[in-house]
Symmetry: C2
Subunit: 666 residues, 2 copies
């Protein structure tokens, strides 16, 4: 990757100090050497295409130019990826997807075509409907998105306002947006890009509401791209991130679509207007779960990007003296810097390990569903809700921590950290708002607690409640196992507290719903504690498992990271542990020392650990984080690309400043 480039001397020295085989860890993280090789091969194919390189960096373009440039590149990218997929058996589509960051830098306007439009047809269309639309969609003869959220409704999808009224005479649905709040708002690509979309709307037949259903709707002429009559469509404007995602709005005025455009794998509307209820509506849960499990993987990747940039920069940057009359120190040698960065490395590992376990569970549930068994779906749903919430929140915090650890330079777009933060923080809200998801899990936890009190056998993710009720509280001992148990005790204690709070309000005469609302801050905290317990448990178990499969030098490093993660969160939540576990003040003092020891153990491997994430410079897009460590040269090179630096004097001097200064003199 870095052949021919002069590597910054500090980085070279760091790489020599590393105690483990970086490539071995890369293969472990990628899930096998073959996957790593394919990733590199695809990236080489993609990044060698000259037309994908921008003459002027996107960030200097106007909003409109930036969109146009993104469409240009997205078309090339789709073609390259399609050809590649024809010629190769794809080992990890996530790896291929990550390479797109190196092209689009931000989000492709075609993103939801592959991400939601095609999967929805696959998941909710009948075989006939699939035969009709899938080939065209997969060949991208038609390009679509998924339009659910409205200006006035996000979370509460039962409240969506767009109507699809069946007209049996013509066998058509008539789509309408009755209020301004009914406009679809947010779907990626909807603004000016797609010609089709899945529209989620309230179905009305003969004045009777039958709930929300998905419809496939053509919104633009395929030849001219003009919006069809009855369609009002446009883009919603700039955002904190996702600048090229082309998020759009969409309104309908008596817009007619054929009856067969309702996706009818579940519920159906017959010709005469008879409504046939779906049999297995829970199946649609499966897609939601999948999306949330993938967000855990995204969180791992984005955290790895941020950590890579900040750790390499901290190795290159020298500032202040650790001792008088010594040269300025690498900032990576400051304990406060290690405190900020090493937890980010460990967090990425924790999410990656969690993702693997969730993925296994997801496959199991899908297999079960195929056999008509739905037993494990509620648990997986509850687990994926709170872990999506926690992983997205943690990754946003870690990305910001890494950015701030780069000082002023982290504030520059050229660091890429602001853009990474945009990705991370968006995930806190999309695909299930943070607080709403935590409360969904809390509902499951309240039921689980009731079952535990009734002495029932619980699902694995909440089985710790039974242990806790048995008061099986072994003495705290600062081992990974004991710390994991401690987090479970905290979760159990908070679940009990929230449950009791609800009961107290109910006993005082409140409705259950009011009691639930009054206890909701505590319910959130219970759900968060439950997430942390699952996350720590999963990370611990997976590390024990994978450590047995790798060299002893790598196993040692994996173990350092795991311990760092557990000790960090023990110290962060020590108040909870003091209340709900039997940790003692001496344990805490010992853990503070242990934490400092772990930082020292990880220090020589810090650069090796981020190198092992194996994120190429093209994907990382960071002047601060490149493999060669040419931080200052790259910052200057990036600045020189600014159109303002292409001319000695900007016209605004003559137009505005000079007259202003002259007037001041009078």
């Amino acid at each position: 990757m870095a052949s021919g480039l002069k590597i910054n001397e500090d980085l070279a020295r760091e790489r020599q100090k590393c105690t483990f085989n970086v490539t071995e860890l890369t293969h472990l993280l990628d899930n096998g050497e073959k996957v790593t090789k394919q990733k590199k091969h695809f990236e080489k194919t993609l990044f060698s295409i000259k037309e994908l390189q921008d003459e002027v960096p996107e960030i200097y373009l106007s909003h409109k130019e930036r969109y146009e440039n993104a469409v240009r590149k997205a078309c090339i990218l789709q073609k390259v990826r399609r050809d590649y997929e024809k010629e190769h058996e794809i080992l990890s589509s996530r790896n291929l997807f990550h390479a797109e960051y190196g092209v689009i830098k931000d989000v492709s306007p075609f993103f939801l075509h592959r991400g939601m439009f095609v999967p929805t047809i696959m998941g909710q269309g009948t075989p006939e409907q699939q035969a009709e639309w899938l080939p065209k969609a997969q060949a991208m003869e038609i390009i679509g998105t998924y339009a659910q959220t409205e200006l006035g409704h996000g979370t509460f999808i039962r409240g969506l306002e767009t109507t699809a009224t069946y007209d049996a005479k013509t066998e058509e649905f008539i789509l309408n947006s009755p209020h301004i709040t009914s406009y679809k708002w947010w779907p990626g690509g909807l603004g000016t890009t797609v010609n089709h979309c899945i529209v989620v709307a309230q179905l009305y037949i003969d004045g009777k509401n039958h709930g929300i259903h998905p419809f496939i709707v053509q919104i633009r002429d395929l030849e001219t791209h003009n919006p069809l009559p009855g369609i009002q469509v446009g883009e919603i404007g700039p955002k904190l991130g996702f600048q090229t995602a082309n998020n759009g709005f969409l309104g309908f005025k008596n817009f007619r679509i054929p009856r067969m455009n309702m996706l009818m794998k579940n519920a159906q509307v017959l010709k005469d207007g008879t409504f046939v209820k779906g049999m297995n509506e829970k199946l649609t849960y499966g897609t939601m779960v999948l999306v949330r499990v993938n967000i855990v993987s995204d969180a791992a990747y984005h955290t790895a990007m941020a950590a890579t940039i900040a750790v390499r920069y901290a190795a290159v940057r020298h500032q202040s003296q650790l001792k008088a009359n010594q040269p300025e120190a690498q900032i990576l040698d400051y304990l406060t810097q290690q405190h900020k960065l090493f937890i980010a490395i460990a967090t990425s590992h924790a999410f990656e390990n969690l993702y693997r376990l969730l993925w296994q569970q997801y496959l199991k549930v899908v297999e079960d569903l195929g056999k008509g068994k739905q037993d494990h779906l509620p648990e997986l749903h509850a687990v994926s809700c709170c872990l999506k919430a926690t992983a997205s929140r943690d990754s946003a915090i870690m990305a910001e921590q890494c950015r701030l650890a780069c000082g002023g330079h982290g504030f520059m777009t050229a660091s890429n950290l602001p853009i990474i933060y945009g990705f991370c923080t968006a995930a806190i809200t999309y695909e299930g708002e943070h607080t709403v998801l935590l409360l969904q899990t809390a509902r499951y936890l309240m039921k689980a607690w009731t079952s535990a009190l009734e002495g029932k056998v619980l699902a694995p993710s909440v089985a710790y409640l039974v242990d806790w009720l048995k008061a099986d509280k072994q003495r705290w001992n600062n081992t990974p196992e004991a710390m994991v148990r401690g987090f479970q005790h905290v979760a159990a204690g908070k679940i009990k507290d929230a449950f009791d709070a609800i009961q107290k309000h109910v006993k005082a005469g409140k409705d259950f719903e009011d009691a639930w609302n009054l206890a909701s801050v505590q319910l959130i905290k219970a759900s968060e504690a439950h997430s942390r317990a699952i996350l720590c448990d999963a990370y611990w178990r997976e590390t024990v498992r994978s450590s047995a499969t790798v060299s002893s030098s790598l196993a040692a490093v994996l173990n350092h990271l795991l311990q760092l993660y557990l000790v960090y969160w023990t110290l962060e939540t020590v108040g909870d542990l003091l209340i709900y576990s039997n940790i003692a003040k001496e344990d805490i003092a010992a853990l503070k020392e242990k934490y400092e020891e772990l930082l020292a153990l990880i220090r020589p491997n810090a650069v090796g650990l981020v190198d092992a994430f194996d994120i190429s410079d093209e994907v990382l897009q960071s002047a601060l984080g490149s493999y060669d460590g040419r931080v200052y040269e790259r910052l200057m090179e990036e600045a020189m690309k600014s159109p303002l630096n292409k001319e000695p004097v900007n016209q605004s001097f003559h137009k505005y400043m000079k007259p202003f200064i002259k007037a001041a003199k009078l």
Copy 2:
């Protein structure tokens, strides 16, 4: 403000419920009715100028166009403000400054002219130098900035690399940037705007280094604006925020300036090259302290902006049902939403109260310095370091919490919350990096602890250490006073722990510097706890004081906010309190209930409280937060301004998508 507009019904209802006089609170926050009136008068003057309104919103322009538009508006703004200042006695220059948000939206490229260039000439120039440059600078015949930070050096200013070498033959200094890392990097306005700057450089005379000193340097021709020979200047490119600040870089190659361009109020270089050391170098501390105290005020204002937007939106937005078959609830009625937003309101009040106390202390120190007394400067320096760090960090957290509480719409630039976050988070780094400042305060705290152990009398801000040593630990009782004392106990305990950690390492044979580094995570935490103790103490005392001057209905509300703040932070840091104070588990349970009661008490006044911040729509710039609550209409109006929505089909369809789709069919 809102006359003639139709007010959203929910907001109107909220305003009727309010239990206190909103105007009374506005006057209290503004420091008097006259100040409020002047604010409104200036805003009316400013916002009625048609040329200041953008045809196309800035966010749609290219980087270069955006800059040019900012210069255009900044010139008009400067003229308006100058004229206004000539005609009026300015009661609060901060209020006038806030109005600029309504014009520039972001940061003016002239920002540091007034903010740093002029003050530095005033603070560090001799009377002759002031006579030479101040009139021109104040009339803006010359426009300047302050160039200290370099590509390779921020925090550690002793390490700056730019050199100013005295040439006694010509009585000139020769400026040079010996390495790429020596380039000045970051100064606002430096890129393509200013023609002068203060350059901080290492002074060399006859090969001997005399440390860093400020020089006034003309960098561009006043007539042509061309960079002068020997000057390389340009802009550094886009950032997370501050897009129109025109931050720049600057390099020198044998650039000569006259001897009298060294600002010589302190140190001097005589004609023959004799170096005369400055007598009162601590005076320059004063400016740093002032800037940091002002950042606390900025934090109050930015938090108020974010809270105003999120609270009004939460009153307008309905989502989900609190109870089955009821209409969807205002999201402000969800306890989890109150938990996110009310602490933001209280935080703004806490910072505002703290700012007033710090400002009084600052004036006292300046008065003392005038009399040659420097006794209170070290304490104020220590206090301003950690409180700048804490206030900027807290305001960034609160701004993000408010943004996330607005769901997807908070992610839109039209909410203005992303831009407010940019302001808040930038302040964490500029004017003293967060961690560095906390460690500066920690140094003061370690000295204070030593003095306490020696039985000496301590400065007021650390006097609690003496009480703590006396083991004067009254029983915790959930009153404001006891909570404040609890925060002081935590701070004292953490200061002691950090001190002991250093001692332990020293006893184990480490150098003091190594021991300091090893204990630095604990030192940071001690410094943070000290900040929280001061902040809570100041907020409590000021509220008690100001409550006596206002109506009883307002006093009650101020007291609710104060209590909310104290209880919130007690619960957030309960682990520390369990270790370092004598809080009991029953107290914690009672405080959780108290917290929920306080949310309920504040709920009817939430909209009134943010109305009382009295931030006009023009300044707030938020589709979600406007006074009239026309949230959805404004979101749509803003979106319609996008150039992509001015044409039915974007050219990228014909240029890229159509050929791509056709190729797919083949």
